[in-house]
Amino acid sequence: MRISDFSGTGTLIRLYLRRDRYLLPLWIFLPVILGLIVAVTFTAMADKGMQSVLAEFDEDPLVSAVLGPVMSFDLSGAIVWRGTSQIALVLGIGSLLTVIRHTRRDEETGRSELVRAYVVGSYANLTAALLLAVILNLSSGVLIALSNIALGGAAAGSFLLGGTMSVVGCFFAGIGALGVQLRENSGTARGIGMAVLGLGIVMMVLNNLGGGYTLLRWVTPMAWQRVTKPFAGNHGWSLIYFTAFAAIPVIIAYVLSARRDLGAGVLLARPGLPEAAPHFSSPLALAWRLHKGSFIGWLAGTVLYIVVFSAFSPGLSKSGGISGWLSGLGGTDWTGEVGLGYVFISIGIYLVSLFVAAYAITAVLRLKKEESEGRAEMLVDKQVSRIRWMSSHLIAAALCSAALLTATGIAGGLAYGLAAGDLSNGFWRIFGMNVSKIPPVWILLGITALLYGLWPRITALSWVVWASFGMLELAWEAQVIDWSLMRFSPFSYAHYTIDITNLPLLPLLVLLCLSAILTGIGLIGFRNRDVSTKA
């Protein structure tokens, strides 16, 4: 490593700041906003005083199983307790995507080749991308600290919280930097990053199930606040350890990057087939081929998540009392009879279904990528109508998302049934909880298809819709809105508060029809508009 290996880093950082001038503020401010949302909801709930609200949650078996024990019984403690996992997730995703976008994505498109032909060192690109992620995380960390001080938190604890979150984000930047070294496409790097994030969440919940202070917290970024303990002892020295921990993937990334060619991965590309397999002869076959990789990744992730929690949750049932918080929410009151573990897994499946809906959106948006990158053009000049081309990806998206929920249903059902020692009953209930989420997931698929068919420029709106369904859920859980507003979310028709054995089927059928109508409008819209092509 010589100084000249880094020449050009400064210029590249300025380039990246310029390219990310809209994206970077989003990743910086979103975690701050999430912290503020937690503050607002807790202030709204705390008419009896913050101390007693938090104490109530802390004693609630269900809530503390998911979120772990409260460390400090004031507003700052509430933000740490309820907000850190979301903030860690957002900073993690933001850091990953930022690093991948400026490293592997640039190599993939050939931009790096253009840049490297100038006076730019071999480590400049990686260094600039990582420094950009550090800028992102430090800015966000400082703003988190300042917003906590503004809300009345102690300065030391506030900065320790911000610092912890920054280090968590930097760890995932390192994971991104490591992931991009392995293969020649950015999709693999994103997959690796998302898998590590998912693993982090699973480990965080396992740590909480174990009481919040298991050894897992030392290697689980989403639980690092349980080591640094902001507002609850302020163990600031441990940040040094975590910084060293976050540096490990970065060091490996530097070593690997020196050993590979520009544009290549450490793992060499395998050759393809010289001729297509006989069945590879339709737009649907192509769509499946294009969706297969990410589908398998999602399948592994969701099944792992559901199986782990399905296997753990029957053990929770024996711990008496359910959840004052849950019965206070005003769904149905079946939860008292069935046991804590059953409700716990029910919530877990509900959350997974929200992420399966996100998968369905990304799967439909593959259409836009294929179109804007000029590959749709290569198909619709053949014996392929626009409707057939568009429906090939929609069918893939619908079947893959349904397959995810069916697979989690089967695997989760088996795991829960075996762990509970009541296979037939347990299996069908868990299976039902999973597959009943297919209609709401398909509603998001339909909305995305409609946007793509009619107004392809604003397909990002489907993410806004997805996020607002999530927000409805959060607002309802915080008792800011009541159930009638919650009904605007299609997920409420397969909600975890409704006993699966008594779930009304008619609304789900209506949702299925509605998603078919939305999709149909999208198809007609696409038939009647220009295909966008490369200039």
């Binding site: 393809g272 297509a276 508009r529 220009d530 490369k534």
Partner: protein, 302 residues
């Protein structure tokens, strides 16, 4: 019979008007060159012919059908090669060719193998590793292995080396021999000159000229080099004579086709010692059509 018939075709993208009344006819069995500078509307016209873009107004027929309404039916009878081929990076070239052929409704396997050999393309490589020229070859092999009546080729040879360019020209000649029709949009004027029966020149969304290359030549100037016995006084001032230069009794100038008789009448009595007349190349035709624009903007001087 006309395979393509376009009358007063316009296409707007929001406030920008890409095509401002294009008239284009392509006859059965001809290779029709479609030339024009970047952004003149060549690709837009071809994409309307493919039914990918919808016309704003005008008449357009393709193989006696409507390219927008009958797209799928018509696509059975045509093959298309885009100028900037994007492939699925994790599929091999061979897989993509087979897939495209099957979507066309069948591909001639022996012809495919022969074309892979002629274009020297390794079909087992993932297309993400292909260079620009190799990606172009994938689209060419797929299109030429398909049985079609009409081939729409939109700058099909961009990125090909001269050897491959020659293979491409052979392929088009074979297609023409079997009575098929080709619309070839291109920047490579030697390619158009070698292959095309007729040429249409498009500029700023309008067809400027259309005809055989020899017809187009009549519209422009030939270069004359002549040595006379006595001085040719006033030759440079003759109507239709341009760019006169003189070295002793050797004159070099360009002359409008319709002024040629007048010039010859003036030269004959002076005693012609040597004379060469070069017809304009397509390059010069092209430059004449677009040079004006560029000259006005001070970029190009001739």
């Amino acid at each position: 019979m006309n395979v393509i018939n376009i009358q007063k075709l316009t296409k707007s993208f929001g406030s920008t008007q890409a095509l401002k009344g294009v008239n284009l006819t392509v006859r059965q069995g001809e290779v029709h060159g479609f030339i024009g500078p970047n952004g003149a509307g060549k690709s837009t016209t071809i994409r309307i012919l493919l039914g990918i873009l919808r016309k704003t107004s005008g008449e357009i027929s393709l193989l006696d059908g409507d390219p927008w309404k009958d797209a799928v039916r018509l696509h059975r009878r045509l093959a298309y090669v885009p100028g900037d081929v994007t492939l699925w990076p994790d599929l091999s070239g061979g897989e993509i060719i087979d897939l495209l052929g099957r979507l066309h409704g069948g591909l001639d396997v022996s012809r495919k193998k022969q074309l892979l050999e002629r274009f020297q393309l390794d079909p087992a490589k993932k297309s993400g590793t292909y260079s620009k020229g190799n990606r172009q070859k994938v689209a060419l092999v797929a299109a030429f292995s398909c049985e079609a009546e009409l081939y729409l080729l939109d700058e099909p040879t961009s990125g090909l080396d001269p050897l491959m360019e020659a293979v491409f020209q052979e392929c088009v000649a074979e297609i023409k021999k079997s009575g098929k029709t080709v619309l070839l949009s291109s920047h490579i004027l030697s390619e158009v000159e070698a292959l095309c029966d007729r040429v249409s020149i498009i500029r700023q969304g309008q067809i400027m000229e259309s005809g055989t290359i020899s017809q187009l030549r009549h519209l422009t100037r030939s270069t004359v080099n002549v040595e006379t016995g006595t001085a040719a006084i006033g030759l440079g001032k003759l109507y239709g004579v341009y760019d006169m230069s003189r070295k002793g009794l050797k004159y070099s100038f360009s002359v409008d086709s319709d002024a040629m008789t007048k010039v010859m009448e003036m030269l004959l009595p002076l005693g012609i010692k040597s004379l060469t007349v070069e017809p304009p190349s397509l390059e010069e035709l092209f430059m004449r059509h677009y040079g004006d624009d560029i000259r006005e903007k001070g970029g190009y001087a001739r």
